[in-house]
Symmetry: none
Subunit: 218 residues, 2 copies
DNA sequence: TCGGATATAGGTATTAATACTTACGATCAA
DNA sequence: TTGATCGTAAGTATTAATACCTATATCCGA
């Protein structure tokens, strides 16, 4: 399954889970078991000792002492090249987000089968990442903010965009009128529409909107 | 790795990072650990005691008391020959600029690998400097113009800053006057001064300035 | 072809911002 | 103590922006 050898360590407060994981990986080639721990602090101690020898840490989330997230953060800050796979009983949005923030390489549920588990490890050891299906809503939410920006921009007409860009460049309505070869009155109408569409109180709001929306600013 | 011996000192409020660094350098020849500190003030005390014996100080940026930047400045002014490597969690333009201004010999991210870390130290001890690849674009593209902005921000008075923050929040001079319990006339004076100091044509320029200068925007 | 959206433009009024000026008390550094 | 800076405030004018209104020609899609 793997190209090169993988030195792994398992952290879980249920010895049964550890045994299960060992059972699965024992059958696979190129896996070397470096040790395990049943709580957060013991895990940290042992992991720091092992340090550079490690390739992969498989850890549960909920443990006494400190969580798998904490361990992941510490591992990643001390030994950035070590991969971390988090296994969790729960499909909780907050936890998944925390795992991503802690730079975990993977997140799978304990309800996952052996197939998913091995696939996750393979992806991770190839330098990729593996997050179970459960993470899709999270990603959706994160991208939703970006999408809102795009949507907001999309609801502006091309002419309104033209005007907005020039407003951001500190041009007055008169300047803009000359630049676009239209009447100042027309520019003022576009301004008014921009204010309404972006929910701004004044041009200041327009500028903030433009910058947030990622409009190119010189 | 190194030609001659290198006496080093590590400053970081996370003992784990210190241990990580020690772990890495322990394996290398010609490194002598002179000590460590977990906060800015303790670091300063110990470093001033060690003084001339030092060859290299490795310091984090964010610490209680004073920052790694402050320590760097003090070390460099007291013992110019001592090298300083700054390690930071963030790839923040302002911080990198400050590090350069403080004459740090190197700046690397905590996400850097061991290889980068050792390379940085080698370069520095050879009399060169090492800034992570990730920040090169920042150095070249943003250094000059942004520096001007920051200088401009520094030259604003506290009251002008107060007013600027409220302007960015789309408040009118009247609103601001009420919020700060001063006359609208005073606010208008501050506005005028802000326009001159920032070289803006109108409030729009002030908003762009505030955002570029990294002023906190809600 | 019809309705809606868009871009255009004018009218009228009010409000806000900008551009200058002077002035005075407080505070802080030379 | 003196001079500089800052924060405060007022006066006067002008310019710009905002908030409404109506109106017309064009174009696109249903």
């Amino acid at each position: 399954m793997l190209e090169s050898n993988c030195n792994f360590f398992v952290v879980d407060d249920h010895q049964l889970i550890i045994d299960g994981i060992l059972g699965m990986l024992k059958e696979e080639a190129n896996f070397t078991f470096l040790g395990s721990a049943n709580d957060g602090y013991t895990a940290e101690e042992k992991l720091l000792e092992l340090g550079g020898q490690l390739d992969l840490v498989i850890t549960d989330i909920n443990m006494s002492g400190q969580t798998g997230i904490d361990i992941c953060k510490k591992i990643k800050s001390a030994f950035p090249s070590v991969k971390v796979l988090i296994i969790s009983m729960y499909q909780n949005n907050t936890v998944i987000r925390e795992a991503m923030m802690a730079e975990a390489d993977g997140y799978i549920l304990k309800t996952s089968g052996k197939k998913d588990f091995l696939l996750a490890i393979q992806r991770i050891m190839e330098g990729g990442s593996y997050y179970s299906e459960a993470i899709l809503p999270i990603i959706y939410q994160e991208f939703k903010k970006e999408q809102e920006k795009v949507d907001a921009l999309a609801q502006l007409t091309t002419r309104e965009l033209d005007v907005l860009k020039l407003i951001v460049q500190e041009m007055t309505s008169e300047d803009i009128a000359k630049a676009l070869f239209i009447s100042k009155k027309t520019v003022d109408n576009h301004r008014q529409n921009l204010l309404v569409k972006t929910g701004s109180k004044s041009s200041i709001g327009l500028v903030k909107f433009a910058i947030k929306a990622g409009l190119e600013i010189q």
